[in-house]
Amino acid sequence: MMHSLNKHFRVLATSAAMSLIVMAGAPAFAETPADTLVEGFAFDDIISMDPGEAFELSTAEMTSNTYDLLVRLDLNDTSKIKGDLAESWTVSDDGLTYTFKLKPGLKFASGNPLTAEDVAWSFERAVKIDKSPAFILTQFGLTGDNVTEKAKATDETTFVFTVDKPYAPSFVLNCLTATVASVVDKKLVLEHVEPVTPSDEYKYDNDFGNAWLKTGYAGSGAFKLREWRANEVVVLERNDNYHGEKAGLARVIYRHMKESSGQRLALEAGDIDVARNLEPGDMDAVSKNADLALASAPKGTVYYISLNQKNADLAKPEVIEAFKYLVDYDAIGATLIKGIGEIHQTFLPKGVLGELDENPYKLDVAKAKELLAKAGLADGFSVTMDVRNTQPVTGIAESFQQTLGQAGVKLEILPGDGKQTLTKYRARTHDMYIGQWGQDYFDPNSNAETFTTNPDNSDEGKNKTLAWRNAWDVPELTEETKAALLEKDNAKRAEMYQSLQKSVLEKGPFVIIFQQTEVAGYRANLKNYKLGPSFDTNYVGPVTK
């Protein structure tokens, strides 16, 4: 049967062809506006923009660009602190009282004057709403009952902060650089508080503006937060009331883009100025493109493999040591984490006070075998490891599985979703776990505390530090870490952390592998685009085009 193409079909085919031609005629694309920075960024972790509540990595960047702090890290030397809202500060001789003098004539983006009263109230609300990051302040002895006494304004520009122990001043000041200590506009927030029925869990009759600040804004930073739509967009606008150097661009737009290759294409095409989540392959392509450049900075996150001490085999000191010789650091550094991390075997990331740049371990199967034989495990044994099904941890786990195999240890990888492996880890039911730990605040105590303190090793232990999760019972190290908090002399304090790191390096059940490097690809026409040493120091204020 022969049938000719009928009339209807011809019409349809023609219109389809027509529409293709129309599409082909689309005009060339404009670049991003000259006064706007557009970043492609996966920020699906943001759950709240309230600085008293937010504790997520992406939010840290937004908060630090939109709110001000009393003090900030000195980016030229991150073991030091410089004033932000504070012009100067003094510490009393007994080490308990910190007096901050604010710069004169400070203003919020709203136009309200910024006074010591706002600082005091910001501390008060953070402590009283008591969300995830509140411990950074409450660890100095602040409670809902005493905060108005311990953190108070004595006059318009003087803020006095009283701590409960004579801590090392570097510790106190470092903690005050955390975003939870951001100063919010009291007058503005008070217009938006919602009533709450007090209960045993929450004793106050209002929410201190928490509900409103989740998406609202009441700060004084270089930028104002105009809008956040979850998984879509974050828009920042220049704050003309900013006390420091005014931002170079009028607007910064973060577009949620989850996919590395999508980010790369948009960057190459000039539709975004910065791509924030590039995978190694795309990074390579960016580095070869003359119109693009890469910015990178080591971040305060270390990746490690841990050995649960509840497992009798893994608890043997020789096994712990042997495992440290069974990681192919060189190969991992050259391939799996190329560009996104560098080999680093101590628990304090680079740039933090007391960092110890020592990487004594190398892949040495013979030595490991010897150690295993000493432990009575010459024939090897079987063990499992919970691995989040993402890169680079999966790749590292597979490499480790191979090198362990060379020493006769059979490793079974249990892949799982991130939240799932973490739930298991926190219940201490794993054998081994591969994970990462990011600093909570930019002070050596943050990582020291989690790797070396375990005040109660029972299953009911409330303090779920990494040492606890791996049932590593270390009363001496717990004490040492506490003592380091009270050491006033910075040099001595640094030494104490170095000694703690050496202990973990030698006998801790943590095989620390590398420190994360954050990388961003950007259009070469951008000026001053830099990544900071932490997620809350990725400042966009200085960027211009």
Binding site: H3, N6, F29, E56
Partner: protein, 355 residues
């Protein structure tokens, strides 16, 4: 005699009315049980997965007492059946809870993300049907010819190649190389605030507000992901059209029509396709409903803030309120589309209309 006739008619009318009421009741029962089953299954799966929802909300770094307080606040320390009871009670009063990820009430979120998916799926289905049906007809009419083979291969590729791969390749080709379409996302940032998203369907909003240049921008953003989804559904639609058409073309009435001397055009489009259209409506409706669930992979690659991405993201974060809310919406969409295609059936098939 007239009296008995009237009573008979009245009785018949009443019986018909009763039948209708019964029908509606049966329908309601089906809907309620469907919803309840849907809720129960999703709820319990959500609760038995080995993920601590509080951990998902607060992250790994929250101190112990905050974790405890949150657990109590959200009622996770209560027995499972009590939690389910509370959930159903709240849901009946229209409260689907708050998403922990976005901190919005779930329904507010869905009102925001669903139009994005609706728009994409609708354009995709239109493309898929407009191209798929004629291709299927062509393949059936020219069975065994080169054209048939080409349609078959094109369809198979669309159906079997992973859509994210096609998506990335097409982005590379049409966006990066040829620059015919716009980059991932729904709209260019320049146009972000230039219109009011009343319906949330940007194409309609911008047309309505006569923002021609913005409409063009939105069109350039939607055309590639929609074409991909269209291609995906085209594959299925064209295969089904072909087989329905072959079935019809072998029928005796076609032979009769040919014998009568009707033109091929009328036979194919006026008779065969008309009859094939009835089951075809179901095929298209089902494929439309499938796209309305939100195509997770397409939405991910094209940074499309739709329902699929929302639910997947929520699921990964154990944000169960959001997952349950999304499931209910998808369930409703399925039911609605089923009813709609039933209604369409009636207009297309005179035999069902009579009853």
């Amino acid at each position: 005699m007239t009296i008995t006739e009237t009573t008979q008619t009245a009785g018949r009318k009443r019986a018909r009315a009763n039948g209708a009421i019964m029908g509606v009741l049966r329908f309601l029962v089906v809907i309620v049980t469907t919803y309840f089953g849907l809720l129960a299954v999703t709820f319990f799966i959500g609760r038995v997965i080995p993920v601590d929802p509080v951990l998902a909300i607060l992250g790994d770094r929250a101190p112990a007492h905050v974790v405890e307080r949150t657990r109590e606040l959200l009622g996770f320390n209560k027995p499972l059946y009590v939690q389910f009871f509370i959930y159903v009670k709240d849901a009946l009063s229209g409260n689907f809870g708050t998403s922990v990820l976005t901190t919005n009430p779930v329904m507010v979120d869905i009102r925001r993300v669903f139009p994005a998916t609706l728009e994409l799926a609708t354009v995709g289905t239109i493309i898929g049907s407009l191209v798929g049906v004629p291709l299927g007809v062509l393949a059936a009419v020219k069975r065994g010819s080169i054209a048939d083979q080409i349609v078959r291969v094109v369809g198979l590729i669309g159906y079997s190649v992973p859509i994210f791969w096609l998506a990335l390749l097409s982005l590379l080709l049409f966006y990066a190389k040829l620059r015919w379409v716009a980059y991932p996302g729904r709209i260019d940032i320049v146009n972000e605030y230039s219109f009011t998203p009343t319906t949330g369907l940007y194409l309609i909003d911008t047309l309505w507000q006569r923002q021609w240049s913005v409409f063009w921008d939105v069109f350039q953003h939607i055309i590639l992901p929609a074409s991909l989804l269209g291609y995906f559904s085209l594959a299925y639609i064209s295969r089904m059209t072909r087989s329905f058409m072959l079935n019809e073309l072998g029928q005796e009435y076609i032979v009769a029509a040919r014998a009568k001397g009707l033109s091929e055009t009328r036979i194919i489009w006026g008779h065969a396709l008309r009859n094939a259209a009835v089951p075809l409506v179901t095929v298209i409706a089902l494929s439309y409903a499938g796209l309305l669930e939100g195509s997770v992979l397409t939405e991910t690659v094209f940074a499309w803030p739709g329902l699929g991405l929302y639910i997947t993201n929520s699921l990964q974060n154990a944000d169960m309120n959001a997952v349950l809310g999304g499931t209910i919406v998808i369930g409703s969409v399925f039911i609605a589309i089923n009813i709609l295609s039933d209604l369409l059936y009636r207009t297309l098939d005179p035999r069902t209309r009579a009853r």
